[in-house]
Structure formats: structure tokens, C-alpha cells
């Protein structure tokens, strides 16, 4: 009977909406709304202490894009950090995944140790490194002293501070790469490797011509995800150097934060955030396409 079918359709719809209602509410209030506010703020002269919110169009954007600090320090820092960190973690993670791919006694223990960094907060990792690289009592300088090398003021010079940050990031994320690459390795079929054994392929040739091509899809995904994350690094830089000395180690996320909450120029901070968001999106798409083409060519 036509009468009966109508309420049933409504009931299904009501159920569907009820299922997503809480998620939708939270999403709107705490993600969509902030996005809109941020976008709005970026076009206004908005200071945290000042109730005035005049519309100034693209002035904030222009400021950021012309800011010497941003162009010559922050952006190169951020990209350089990203490249160095992702590259190092990838290679190291791949090596570890290859090592862990065989069965050996105590493998479980080794795996647990290597996965240790995954549960450590970036802030804590930064603290650990900061302590180890302390210029007076840090273990690194102590060991260097034993070998007669002069003490280095690690955290107060730009490049050495960067090295410490890089070390922290690599320490934190290599296990992530290793875990995912290991899963990838273990999902590879064994027959091509047996055929390669019969074909007298050396360990290196097997790796280069068989393992690596088959791993490429996994590598691409890992690299893109990690690159996007590395671009947004905040915790480590904040804890190790605070962006210093004199903003020399500032990366993009710190720049936006500093503009908004230290210079109290929320408009400019939001503009910086939006610019950064656009950079990430464009860069991620380009990277993904580039890497995928690399994967396709090899196919």
C-alpha cells in the first residue's frame, strides 16, 4: 500500500541523519567555522588587543609574501627541513625494514625497541635531544671532549640547532617508515625473488631491480604523507630552539603562531596560515603527481 512505504523512507533518512548528527555538529563548529573565521581574519586588520576589525583586503597577504623573514628564512628553512627529514627517514627506514625482514632470534625485542619512538611525544623527544646536546653537560659534548674536539654550542647557532631538530625528527619518524615499509616488504610475493635467486642476481641487483620497483607505491604514499606533516612541524622546533636564535630557525608554523600570539596580529597570522595551507596543498599534489609518474614509468 502506497501509504505505508512513505514513513519507512523517512525513517531510514532520519536514522542516517541521526547517525552523523553529532559528527556534523562538531565538524561545523570546530573545523568549518574556524576555517571561515581564519579566512575572514586574514582579510582584516585584526589585533588581539584591539576590538577594531577593519577590512583591509589583501594587505596581510602582501605583507607576508613580501616579508624578508618569510621569504629568505622561513620558507627555505621549512622546505629544507622537510627534504632532509623525509629523505633521511626514508633511507634509514628502508634499511631497517630490510634488516627486520628476515627471521632472527630476538626479533620481537628489536622490533619493540625500534618502535619506541612512536609512542614518545615530539615534545619529549625534543627535550631528550636538547638535553643530550646541552653545551655544558650534554652527553654529546662530553663524548666530543673525550676525543679532544672543542665543545659546540649546539642550540644557539642556526645550523647546529637545525641538526639537532633534524635528528629529533628522524629519530621520531624513521620507525614509522620502517613499520610501513616492512609491511610492504612482507606483502610482496616470494616467487620473483626465488626466480631472481635462480637468475644469479646479487643482493644489490635484487634490491634495485625487484624489491624497489615493487615497493614504489608504498614509498610514494609514505613520502607524501610525511612530507605534508614535516611541513607543519611545530612541537620540535618550539621546544628545541623556539625559532631562535633571533628567528633564524623559524619554520612556517612557528611564523604563523608568532605573528598571531606574540605580535598579537591575528590577521597576519591567519594570512600566513592560509598561505601555508595553499603551499602545502599545491606542493602535495605536485609531489604526488611527480612520484606517481615515477612509479608509472617503471611500470
Amino acid at each position: 500500500m502506497p501509504q505505508r512505504s512513505l514513513p519507512r523512507i523517512d525513517e531510514k533518512k532520519r536514522f542516517m541523519l541521526a547517525l552523523i548528527a553529532p559528527a556534523v555538529t562538531v565538524l561545523i563548529a570546530f573545523q568549518i567555522l574556524p576555517i571561515l573565521i581564519g579566512a575572514n581574519a586574514s582579510f582584516r586588520d585584526w589585533h588581539l588587543h584591539d576590538p577594531k576589525r577593519t577590512w583591509i583586503g589583501f594587505t596581510n597577504y602582501a605583507y607576508v609574501l613580501r616579508d624578508n623573514e618569510f621569504l629568505t628564512i622561513v620558507l627555505p628553512n621549512t622546505f629544507g627541513f622537510m627534504l632532509a627529514s623525509v629523505g633521511t627517514s626514508l633511507i634509514l627506514g628502508l634499511a631497517i625494514a630490510l634488516l627486520l625482514n628476515r627471521k632472527f632470534a630476538g626479533r620481537w625485542l628489536v622490533q619493540t625497541i625500534i618502535l619506541l619512538p612512536l609512542m614518545v611525544a615530539p615534545v619529549i623527544a625534543a627535550i631528550m635531544i636538547r638535553w643530550m646536546f646541552n653545551d655544558q653537560f650534554g652527553i654529546v659534548n662530553v663524548v666530543l671532549g673525550v676525543f679532544g674536539v672543542p665543545q659546540i654550542a649546539w642550540l644557539t647557532q642556526k645550523w647546529t640547532a637545525f641538526l639537532a631538530m633534524l635528528l629529533t625528527d628522524v629519530w621520531l619518524w624513521t620507525p614509522w617508515f620502517a613499520l610501513l615499509l616492512l609491511a610492504g616488504l612482507q606483502s610482496l610475493p616470494s616467487e620473483p625473488f626465488e626466480a631472481a635467486q635462480i637468475d644469479a642476481a646479487s643482493a644489490w641487483r635484487t634490491f634495485r631491480y625487484i624489491t624497489l620497483p615493487m615497493l614504489r607505491p608504498v614509498i610514494v604514499v609514505c613520502v607524501v604523507i610525511r612530507a605534508i606533516d614535516a611541513f607543519r612541524t611545530f612541537d620540535i622546533v618550539w621546544t628545541i630552539s623556539g625559532g631562535g636564535p633571533a628567528r633564524a630557525t623559524e619554520v612556517f608554523s612557528i611564523y604563523a603562531y608568532v605573528e598571531a600570539f606574540q605580535f598579537l596580529n591575528f590577521g597576519r597570522g591567519s594570512a600566513a596560515a592560509v598561505i601555508g595551507a595553499l603551499i602545502i596543498v599545491v606542493f602535495a599534489m605536485a609531489l604526488y603527481r611527480l612520484l606517481n609518474r615515477w612509479v608509472e614509468v617503471s611500470r
Binding site: 570546530f30 573565521i37 634488516l99 625500534i114 591567519s270
Partner: protein
């Protein structure tokens, strides 16, 4: 093929790895493993060691033999640390429960239904997952202020839940896609409502995946820094923020610093050790 017949069947090797006798290869392998383990365990070990040395011994952590728990006593006697510890525990647990609760129904809906509403929601999730959260982190400050929840539990919980919505809904959908819907149909034929079928049939089947996700979510929230920094002030100290403050303020008191850090590592370590097998089982790694 006569040219090929002239080839020696056993090829010559000058490659490094293959030139090594099996013993040499094994030695290199073992060295590699040990080196890697040292690299990853050392910073943690060093931190724990420092936290157990008394204040004056900070100058020579690697030498000396006196150990003490005084650092922990001192750190725990500070009210801010105790409050931060409690807050972090509470927030991590509550955020996990809330995130899972809100997203499990969302993921279920995406998995079980087709049509304009699910499609719209799926697209929304996909789009907003790709929006980098730098662009909405700063304004959260204003939203929470406007709603009067700044520097309170809700002010931190709801944004955390928001971050998880897109990502978790997608993962939950995956979980439910892997569960046969016939059981729910059977339940509905047997008299269950849709909600009842979800609650009594689908949800229990998804528990392994939910447990895995819960553990990962808990760890993530426990370790989170940026939101805590922006959305809390004096009333709701959070452990990660407190630690970062200590670094910039305490200067030389590394014995206290490391004790605080070890305190923060403790729960994470416990959760990881006990949760590891659930994570592996639930995500079928």
C-alpha cells in the same frame, strides 16, 4: 645460442656482499641491528638515567653511582605538575571516548547506506580531511573563547574530536565495510530496530578495530602539543605544555626536567605495551 654455451655456469662475483663469507655477512647484519637498537633506545635510556640522578650529579650523569627518586618527589610535589598529569590523563581518555563515539556512527552510516546523503557526507569528509589544519588551528582560539569554553576541558576536547572526525570516519567505514551486513539484516528481521541492529550486532563485531583505534587515539592525544598550547592557559595545565614551559624556564634543572618527561613517558609506555597486540590484531597488520 652457442655463444651463450660458452658462458660459465657459475658467474664470478666481485660485489661486496656476496664476496663476504656467510660469517662476514652475519657479523655485518648483527652489527647493523645492534647499532639501530642503540640509536633508538639511547635517548630514552639517557633521559631515564638523568631523572634518577640527584641534582648535583647532573654535571656528570655518565659517571657517579648515586641514584635517587627525589627528583620525582620534587616534581610531583609541584601542584602544576600534578594538575597537568591529571588533566592530560582525563583529556586523553575523554577525547578518545568522545572521538570514537562520534565517529563510529558516522563511519557506520557511510558503510551501510547509499544515496545523496551518504555521498554528500563522504565528499565533505574527504574535502575537509585534505584541508591542512594550520588554517583552522589559530581561529579555534576565538571559537572557544566565544563559546566560553576556552581553557576548559570542553575547550580542548571538542577541537580534538573535530580533528579526528574526518580521519576516523573514513577508517571506521573501512572497519564496517569488512563486516558482513547480513547479520544486521537478520537481526532486523528478527525484530531489532536499525539502531538495535547497530548496537547489538555491528558494534560488537567492530570491537577489535575500535580497540586498536582507541589506543592510537589515546596516545596521539596524550602526546599532542599545539592545541594544548593555544587552547589552554592557567586553569587547565596540560602535561606537554608544562614540560615545554619548563624547558624554557627551568634552564639548568635537567634532573627535574627529565623526571617530568619520564612521568609523561610512563603512561604512554604502559598503554603501548599493553595495547600493542590489540593494535596489531585490530588493524590486521
Amino acid at each position: 645460442m652457442s655463444a651463450v654455451d660458452a658462458l660459465p655456469a657459475i658467474a664470478s662475483r666481485n660485489r661486496f656482499f656476496d664476496a663476504l663469507a656467510p660469517g662476514g655477512r652475519r657479523a655485518l647484519f648483527v652489527l647493523g641491528i645492534i647499532g639501530v637498537c642503540l640509536l633508538f633506545a639511547f635517548p630514552v635510556f639517557w633521559l631515564v638515567l638523568t631523572s634518577l640522578r640527584p641534582g648535583y650529579a647532573v654535571y656528570y650523569v655518565h659517571r657517579g653511582t648515586d641514584f635517587t627518586l627525589d627528583n620525582f618527589h620534587e616534581v610531583l610535589s609541584q601542584e602544576i605538575v600534578l594538575r597537568a598529569l591529571w588533566n592530560s590523563l582525563a583529556i586523553s581518555t575523554l577525547a578518545t571516548v568522545l572521538s570514537l563515539g562520534v565517529t563510529v556512527t558516522s563511519g557506520y552510516m557511510l558503510s551501510r547506506f547509499r544515496g545523496p546523503i551518504p555521498n554528500l557526507w563522504f565528499s565533505a569528509i574527504y574535502v575537509f580531511r585534505c584541508v591542512p589544519y594550520v588554517s583552522w588551528v589559530l581561529p579555534l582560539y576565538f571559537v572557544t573563547r566565544a563559546l566560553g569554553i576556552f581553557d576548559t576541558y570542553w575547550g580542548l576536547l571538542l577541537p580534538h574530536v573535530a580533528v579526528h572526525i574526518c580521519f576516523f570516519s573514513w577508517i571506521m567505514k573501512g572497519f564496517f565495510d569488512g563486516i558482513d551486513p547480513s547479520m544486521e539484516y537478520a537481526a532486523m528481521i528478527d525484530g531489532c530496530s536499525r539502531w538495535g541492529a547497530f548496537l547489538r550486532v555491528a558494534l560488537p563485531a567492530a570491537i577489535p578495530g575500535l580497540t586498536a583505534l582507541a589506543i592510537l587515539c589515546w596516545l596521539y592525544t596524550w602526546n599532542e602539543f599545539l592545541f594544548a598550547l593555544i587552547l589552554t592557559a592557567q586553569k587547565t595545565p596540560i602535561l606537554t605544555v608544562v614540560m615545554a614551559q619548563f624547558v624554557h624556564e627551568l634552564g639548568m634543572e635537567w634532573h627535574l626536567m627529565s623526571a617530568t618527561a619520564v612521568l609523561s613517558l610512563g603512561p604512554a609506555l604502559i598503554v603501548t605495551i599493553f595495547g600493542q597486540k590489540y593494535v596489531i590484531r585490530g588493524l590486521k597488520i
